[in-house]
């Protein structure tokens, strides 16, 4: 079970309003159609008007779910142009869960959110240089080339 674990519960309660829908219930079908639901586990981060800002599928153990959730909310904040909030959450995910599966992506977007906040290219390049050192084999290191 992932949700009872303290880091997961703490992140959910601190960062989100949690909503759970049973995909076999008749009452859920209109919302599931709206979000084009296909497969469980199906996790979405929704804006306050219902706009989907981030999604992922698939089971994650607690030590992966917590950083994934923190990074997911960071992505959502980034898309809302809340760059400082996004950067702080990416940095939290990296600080608390440095070896998680989401770490390379979080490092990539730490640079993006820092740059979008400052418009200083050195902020982007510094974060991406760190990404290259910490995750040389990651797809996110490939994606930082331009």
């Amino acid at each position: 079970m992932t949700y009872p674990e303290t880091p997961v519960r703490e992140a959910i309660e601190r960062l989100t309003v949690p909503l759970q829908l049973d995909n076999t219930a008749d009452a859920s079908q209109a919302v599931l159609d709206r979000y084009r639901h296909v497969w469980t586990p199906d996790l979405r981060i929704l804006d306050t008007d219902g706009t989907e800002l981030y999604r992922w599928n698939g089971y994650l153990p607690p030590y992966e779910f917590a950083p994934q959730l923190i990074a997911a909310v960071a992505h959502a904040r980034l898309r809302r142009k809340e760059y400082d909030a996004a950067k702080a959450l990416y940095e939290e995910a990296l600080r608390r869960f440095p070896t998680s599966l989401i770490a390379a992506e979080a490092q990539y977007y730490t640079g993006v959110s820092a740059y979008r906040a400052s418009h200083n290219s050195s902020d982007l390049l510094h974060a991406w240089h760190e990404l290259e050192k910490s995750h040389p084999e990651s797809e996110w290191t490939v994606k930082q080339n331009f």
Binding site: P4, L15, T24, S28, T40, D42, R44, G50
Partner: protein, 32 residues
Amino acid sequence: MSEIAWLGSLDEALRAAQAGEKLVLLDVFNPG
């Protein structure tokens, strides 16, 4: 250990998110 207070209605969750300046985590699950 306390349990997460999951809501069961999208409208209710969106209203709570607006009031609390949070975002909604939607978890769709299969009970089977």
